[in-house]
């Protein structure tokens, strides 16, 4: 067991305690999922797209506090952005917006941006848009 808790920023704790945009979007325009149960971390992102803009976004996460906080932060960052803008958000950007994550959390609990990219891809595939 380790010592990540005293390394969590206040931002992480805020987003973990009261995560934003938890849930699903029925009949979402795109769904993306990354992670695996083996890693102990699965993040699923749902998006609703209108006029190339992310109108609504929701997530479900099975994972540690860092994973939950990352998902919450990601959805806040992506909402209202164009798909092109949203695709530029990286996992590192999410971590930075959370005032950093402990090193051992970077590789595994910080997958929300990747899930979003997959959701956008899903949307583009469904709508035959070349990415």
């Amino acid at each position: 067991m380790s010592k990540m808790n005293n390394m969590y920023s206040e931002k992480v704790m805020e987003h973990f305690t009261c995560p934003h945009n938890v849930g699903e979007i029925k009949e979402a325009d795109g769904i993306g999922e990354v992670g695996s149960p083996v890693c102990g971390d699965i993040t699923r992102v749902y998006i609703q797209v209108e006029d190339n803009i992310i109108k609504d976004i929701k997530f479900k996460t099975f994972g540690c506090s860092a994973a939950i906080a990352s998902s919450s932060m990601l959805t806040e960052m992506a909402k209202g952005k164009t798909l092109e803008e949203a695709l530029k958000i990286t996992d590192a950007d999410v971590a930075a917006a959370l005032d950093g994550l402990p090193p051992q959390k970077m590789h595994c609990s910080n997958l929300a941006a990747s899930a979003l990219h997959k959701a956008i891809e899903d949307y583009q595939n469904k709508n035959n848009i070349a990415s």
């Binding site: 380790s2 808790n5 083996v38 479900k60 099975f62 994972g63 540690c64 609990s109």
Partner: protein, 393 residues
């Protein structure tokens, strides 16, 4: 906020009586080096000897069979490495189990990389080593069997006496890591047929920095390191006198109070187990319910991950621990739960709560009030939660 400490298997606070016994050996009064011949040294020497008697008594050993170490990890290493080095001419095969603490497991693996063959016997889904499996693993080359007495994660009590009997019949040295059973189960090294036994002070309300290895008279071990003549050259270095004195006092108190205290904790444990099982769905008690130490509860909550559960509990003042990989920095969750055949995603969602002397019935009531809400909240966020998905669609 109420603070409920439920991680007594990780470490415990030093009891006031124990601290009182230690203080003179920290301060001017009696801080001396027990190896010195003047009066300060004599007092320290005497105290170390008396502590040795108390520790020996708790496990039915002779004082001269106790070797102090810095803790359980070092004692486990001394047992495995010490026997391996001393008996390697006789054979190079070691048997241990898949659910040992890392202090045994990693040491066995180290030996496995350095000329020894190691067999890790499996466990049942309930977390129990089977004597038959140990028996089958024995070869002519087997010099050592090391099976823990009580597992630190799921609290299961292993059939030590029977394995010891088997080892004795075959002339094989038998070690048990009793860090989680000393002070919690009656232990007598004669009745249990063990040749070496590990204990640790900070798990029984003694200070960190002390532990011991019991070594049956006649069994040889090589030291882990070299220097002065302390502990009959098996463990050199200036003795940690205050910690040793504290360990002795803690052992004494543990022996006196064991029966009544374990009865009390067993009742609290059962209340906690029954309460959670009846209030929360999709939860499983990890580890055998009968062959279980009075202090251990370990639940697997489906659909959620342990670290976020722990942190949520901590925000409510409840200290627990988890088999989650996310608390260990590695990718794999608890090797103990995996060895019991629990799937990865379920293992990630496990939480251990271990009871101790400061816990009361009110503590358990509080946990039973708080825990189900937290589980519900986290499950609502989880993509694995089948019910949840059903609703959503």
């Amino acid at each position: 906020m109420r603070r409920v400490y439920l991680d007594h298997s990780a470490t415990t606070a030093v009891r006031p009586e124990v601290l009182e016994a230690m203080l003179p050996f920290l301060k001017e009064e009696a801080f001396g080096n027990p190896s010195s011949i003047y009066s300060y040294g004599r007092e320290a020497r005497k105290a170390v000897t008396e502590a040795r008697e108390k520790v020996a008594k708790l496990i039915g050993a002779k004082p001269e069979e106790i070797y102090y170490t810095s803790g359980g990890t070092e004692a486990d290493n001394l047992a495995l490495m010490g026997v391996a080095a001393a008996y390697q001419e006789r054979g190079r095969h070691i048997i241990t189990s898949a659910i040992e603490h890392h202090a045994v497991l990693d040491t066995a693996q180290y030996l496995g990389r350095h000329g020894f063959k190691v067999t890790f016997v499996p466990v049942t889904p309930a977390g129990l080593v089977q004597v038959e499996d140990v028996k089958r693993a024995i070869t002519d080359e087997t010099i050592l069997i090391s099976i823990m007495h009580v597992n630190n994660e799921v609290g299961t009590i292993q059939p030590i006496r029977e394995i010891g009997q088997l080892a004795r019949e075959r002339g094989i040295i038998f070690h048990t890591d009793a860090v989680q059973s000393v002070g919690k189960l009656p232990i007598n090294v004669e009745e249990l047929n063990v040749d070496l036994l590990t204990a640790s002070s900070h798990k029984i309300y003694g200070p960190k920095g002390s532990g011991c290895l019991y070594v049956r008279k006649g069994i040889r071990i090589k030291p882990l390191f070299y220097g002065g003549a302390q502990e009959r050259k098996r463990r050199p270095g200036t003795e940690n006198v205050p910690a040793i004195v504290g360990f002795g006092r803690a052992a004494e108190l543990a022996g006196q109070e064991m029966d009544s205290e374990m009865e009390r904790l067993r009742r609290l444990r059962d209340k906690l187990i029954d309460g959670v099982l009846s209030r929360v769905e999709d939860v499983r008690l990890n580890g055998d319910r009968q062959q279980r130490v009075a202090t251990n509860v370990n639940f697997g909550f489906s659909y959620i991950e342990g670290e976020s559960l722990l942190l949520s509990l901590d925000m409510k003042g409840i200290c627990a621990s988890s088999g989650s990989a996310c608390t260990s920095g590695s990718l794999d969750p608890s090797h103990v739960l995996l060895a019991m055949g629990i799937p990865h995603e379920e293992a990630h969602g496990s939480v251990r709560m271990t009871l101790g002397r400061d816990n009361t019935e009110a503590d358990i009531d509080y946990v039973l009030e708080v825990l189900p809400e937290i589980v519900e909240r986290l499950r609502a966020m989880s993509p694995l939660n089948k019910d949840n998905e059903g609703e959503a669609k």
